[in-house]
């Protein structure tokens, strides 16, 4: 008997909580119509601090419409100072780059987590240097000249397909990552040779490459 009373009491206590939970489930949180966010990429900064051959310091500004569409503008400073492994040829560049594009949030729940798919158009115009402390010697004619080709001009355009995740850490602070498949659509380089690295695109070994960011984001 006592056990039965206890059961009924427990049911009465838990009923409002269950109803409240049901109410919350029935009325999902509406996303804000408009928002602005700024942020920075931490991967490039980490590469810079740890002394990698190339790095890109990147910041971005982003709009948000109904937590679905996120037009974004990214800009950064890409730099590379790379010496050959077995040869002392050196490549150097330091130049800004720009990207513009849009992300789409695939997630239907507006709970702070976002699953983003997006596209970017990237552009950079830059100067680069190819130098070496060793002269380039002609083995048959016995002549040599210094390898000192500086101020070579290049520019490149590329497109990036982006897939990424984001989560809210607290209040206005978010964190997220994305991976990007980049494919070059045009490149103009000096006749001496293509740059080893293109600011914003990355290592320039082929017409496509992978990249990614790990972002700290502030909703403002």
């Amino acid at each position: 008997m006592v056990l039965r009373i206890f059961r009924y009491a427990l049911l009465l206590i838990s009923l409002p909580i269950a109803l409240q939970a049901q109410t919350v489930k029935e009325e999902p949180k509406k996303p804000r119509f408009f928002g602005i966010a700024v942020g920075a990429d931490l991967v490039g900064a980490t590469m810079k601090v740890t002394g990698c051959d190339w790095s890109q310091m990147e910041v971005f500004g982003r709009l948000a419409f109904r937590d679905k569409f996120f037009p974004i503008f990214e800009m950064g400073l890409g730099e590379a100072d790379h010496e050959g492994r077995e040869l002392d040829n050196r490549f150097h560049t330091r130049a800004p780059y720009f990207r513009i594009g849009c992300d789409y949030n695939m997630s239907k729940n507006h709970n702070g987590n976002r699953f983003l798919l997006g596209l970017r158009y990237g552009f950079s115009a830059f100067n680069y240097d190819i130098t070496s402390p060793s002269a380039l010697s002609d083995p048959y004619w016995g002549t040599s000249m210094p390898v000192d080709y500086t101020g070579l001009h290049g520019r490149a355009q590329w497109v990036e397909a982006v897939i990424g995740l984001e989560t809210r850490l607290w209040t206005i602070v978010r964190m997220g990552w994305d991976m990007r498949f980049k494919f070059r659509i045009s490149q103009h380089t000096d006749a001496i040779g293509a740059p080893w690295y293109v600011p914003g695109y990355g290592k320039n070994a082929s017409g496509s490459t992978w990249g990614g960011t790990f972002k700290l984001i502030f909703d403002i």
Binding site: L42, V43, T46, M47, C52, D53, H82, E83, G84, R85, E86, L87, N89, R90, F91, N113, I130, S132, L136, D138, P139, Y140, W141, G142, T143, M145, V147, Y149, L165, T167, L169, M175, G176, W177, M179, A191, I192, G193, A194, W196, K203, A205, S206, W210, G212, T213, F214
Partner: protein
């Protein structure tokens, strides 16, 4: 979610590792094709030695029974002067000289790869002891390895 973000960040840093991709076919030489006056392929019966005029450096030694040759090109000179010495089976010698004018541009692939020099032939002149004429087939001397100059000999 947050832990997955950390794993991805580590993955992205690891992905920054690089590899070297130097071209395997990186020989830059001027390729000469031997022909008859009418332009048909010709196998040289004489022994051919090629030297650089003024330096006496042998860049091709005793080539025989071949229908083509590949010669290095100077990196910086505006023109190369090559002396071709033909020795027949009796030991008699004949010489011709080829002047090849060209422009040269260093070519860079990767800091880990050697810098090579590419050339563009602008003109050729020659003496006419055994050579009848030279025909420029391809002005670009680079990794392509295409035939650049046809040497047409007077005698078959």
């Amino acid at each position: 979610m947050r832990r997955s973000l950390l794993y991805i960040a580590i993955l992205l840093l690891l992905a920054a590792c690089d590899n070297i991709s130097c071209p395997l076919n990186n020989t830059v030489e001027c390729k000469y094709k031997f022909c008859t006056i009418s332009g048909e392929s010709f196998t040289l019966g004489d022994t051919l030695t090629v030297t650089i005029a003024g330096r006496d450096s042998v860049i091709l030694n005793r080539l025989v029974n071949k229908n083509s040759m590949s010669l290095p090109v100077s990196y910086y000179a505006p023109a190369d002067t090559l002396v071709l010495t033909f020795t027949d089976t009796q030991g008699d010698q004949a010489q011709d000289t080829i002047w090849m004018e060209k422009t040269s541009t260093p070519h860079f692939d990767d800091p880990s790869c050697p810098i090579h020099v590419w050339h563009t032939i602008t003109d050729v002149r020659y003496t006419r002891n055994l050579i009848d004429s030279l025909v420029i087939l391809n002005t670009a001397i680079n990794y392509d390895g295409l035939e650049n100059i046809q040497i047409r000999f007077i005698a078959d």
